[in-house]
Amino acid sequence: MTKMNIVEAVKSALDNELKKDKSVLVMGEDVGKNGGVFRVTDGLYAKFGPNRVIDTPLSETGIMSTAIGLAVNGMKPIAEFQFSGFIYGPLDQLFTHASKVRSRSSGMFSCPLVVRTPFGGGIRALELHCESVEAFVGHMPGLKVVIPSSPYDAKGLLLSAIRDPDPVIFLEPMRIYRAIKEEVPDKEYTVPLGKAKIVEEGSDVTVISYGAMLKYTRDALAKTDYSAEIIDIRTISPLDTETIINSVKNTGRCVIVSEAPKNLGFAAEIMARINEKAFFDLEAPPVRVCGYDCAFPLAKLENFYIPDEKRIIRAVDQVMKA
């Protein structure tokens, strides 16, 4: 066990798997000698060499498309994209091909690759550095979408993602890359994909979140007297509906916190499922706390955009008083 933050936990997973499985390779811009813009791959190049930790030409689409070819022919590429907004180009290859390799070949070929990218805002970054892309990618059948919110889960989920036989988009919460430290085993272990986690049990209200927002949701609720059941979604797709529904049936109240734009967002999908499966157990209409339906703002305004404690508590008050 070592005390690790999310950056270190992700690196530990990559290190474990590069050592264990010769078909695994890390590829991307600056992932080699430089160790990545967030230092996630720091030291891996020196340890595993240029054929395992590969600095590619500066083309996100080229990284994605060649990763597909690599994956189809027996490799397990872990492609890093420096910021989530740079994924819009490669989405073409991801949607057109990676997601459909298995179905179009009737199972003859598969595409076991992992796309890693930091996502979400809160670090006063440039434009296109803070996008919440989980709904876009999660909407495409054939892709899995995973978002850790703690160092322990980051490592365990990433190891599951690398070993998964299908393409997995692994979105790393940039804002809390170094904000949380906890004991993480140095050895390999997995946290299963497709399973949400109840991080705090409670009986008054179910509060659902993921990624960086989970931490701020927990911090906010710690300042209230509510007995909140807090669920970390962990896998956007395939979604663990059961954990959500069981909790909402128990509490009858629900708030969903996500920093993605609200319109057609992932929070809406959770609400739809609650409507379908727990409507008659509801004591109050569920409420979404989301980012606004605008481009992610620059530094001066990002604190107004990302749901803050005030907005989260206001939403919980609203469902409790209804």
Partner: protein
């Protein structure tokens, strides 16, 4: 101060057999009479299947069909060079290449008839499903070849693209990644002069497609794509070179789409009969016939036999296609992931109701 030439390239064009079927003996690749006859027989079969598929679409027996008519030499001469465990990344017009690579004709009809299972390759041949999105497949061949290189395997990967596909960024990515990593990939650009209605000169201001390779540190060559011997020779050299670890090649096969873009297109709207007639004279099959006749490899009797055999074989494939049961509705939900997700399980139940 100095101003000088820092780099220059020569782009070669290869033709072994001219339009009259006259062969340059020095350039002629080593081929037995048997191999040459096999080329001819395969091209006749490919043409027969293409004509039949077109007719079946007109009769409503299959959906949209994309003809490769006129490009038989370009596809046969290149696909034939690959081994079964080599990789091929075809595009929607690569039906001929697929048939050459043992993809059953009835399965192409199955796909045309609206059944995705028709794309499934046999277990022993690495044929990736055809790409529908133009030009997106070239970098897959590069990634795939890269994997062979990293694994220390001797397999190579080949992608087919059209000249229209070279306008996309994916073509740039493919050549750039192929060049920087020196992978055993071959990109075959079938320059058939049209991307639906848009002519070749609107795709690029380059004199050739082949010359684009050199900018990426990749070797490129332009080939008479209606000359089966030239295509075979150029591809064989490229594949041998790739297999020997000497890097990728871009091959531009100059050819012509004798048919419409697809069964939903009418090429008369954008090209003249005169132009098409000029290219009909360059038909790869006619040219090979001329050569074989002069080399005493073909006479009228043999020609008739080959045509009859091809027609019978195609009819056999049509019968096979028509006996394939429709896919079960639930099959659209399997093979999305390696295992059914909880959502898909629920949807499967709903579908079965």
């Amino acid at each position: 101060m100095v101003k000088k030439v820092v780099e220059s390239f020569n782009v070669e064009y290869l033709q072994v057999m001219d339009e009259n079927g006259i062969v340059d003996k020095e350039l002629m690749p080593k081929l037995s009479d048997k191999q040459i006859k096999e080329f001819y027989e395969t091209m006749i079969l490919l043409r027969a299947f293409d004509d039949k598929s077109f007719n079946m679409q007109r009769q409503g027996r299959i959906g949209t069909y994309i003809q490769y008519k006129g490009q038989e030499a370009s596809q046969l001469g290149s696909a034939k060079v690959l081994n079964d465990d080599d990789w091929m990344f075809p595009m929607y017009r690569s039906g001929a290449a697929l048939i050459v690579r043992k993809h059953p004709m009835h399965k192409l009809l199955q796909y045309g008839g609206g059944d995705i299972r028709g794309l499934k390759t046999t277990e022993k041949v690495n044929n990736f499903p055809i790409s529908i999105a133009v030009g997106t497949q070239s970098p897959h061949a590069v990634g795939c070849a890269w994997a062979s290189k990293l694994k220390g395997e001797k397999t190579v990967a080949m992608a087919y693209t059209g000249e229209g596909g070279t306008s996309r960024g994916d073509f740039h990515d493919a050549l750039n990644f192929a060049g920087t990593n020196q992978v055993p990939a071959i990109i075959v650009c079938e320059n058939n002069q049209y991307a639906i209605s848009v002519p070749r000169n609107k795709q690029t201001a380059s004199n050739t497609i082949a010359q684009k390779a050199f900018a990426y540190g990749v070797y490129g060559i332009q080939v008479d794509g209606n000359d089966i011997f030239a295509v075979y020779k150029a591809t064989k050299e490229a594949v041998d070179k790739a297999r020997a670890g000497k890097g990728p090649t871009l091959i531009e096969n100059l050819t012509y789409r004798l048919a419409d873009h697809s069964t939903s297109d009418d090429a008369k709207k954008y090209r003249s009969d005169k132009e098409v007639n000029e290219w009909l004279k360059k038909d790869p099959i006619i040219r090979l016939e001329k050569y074989m006749r002069s080399a005493k490899l073909l006479d009228d009797k043999y020609k008739k036999e080959v045509a009859a055999k091809a027609a019978a074989q195609v009819e056999e494939e049509v019968k096979k296609f028509e006996s394939i049961p429709d896919p079960k509705p639930e099959e659209m939900l399997t093979n999305i992931y390696s295992e059914l997700t909880p959502d898909l399980k629920e949807e499967l139940e709903e579908l079965k109701k």
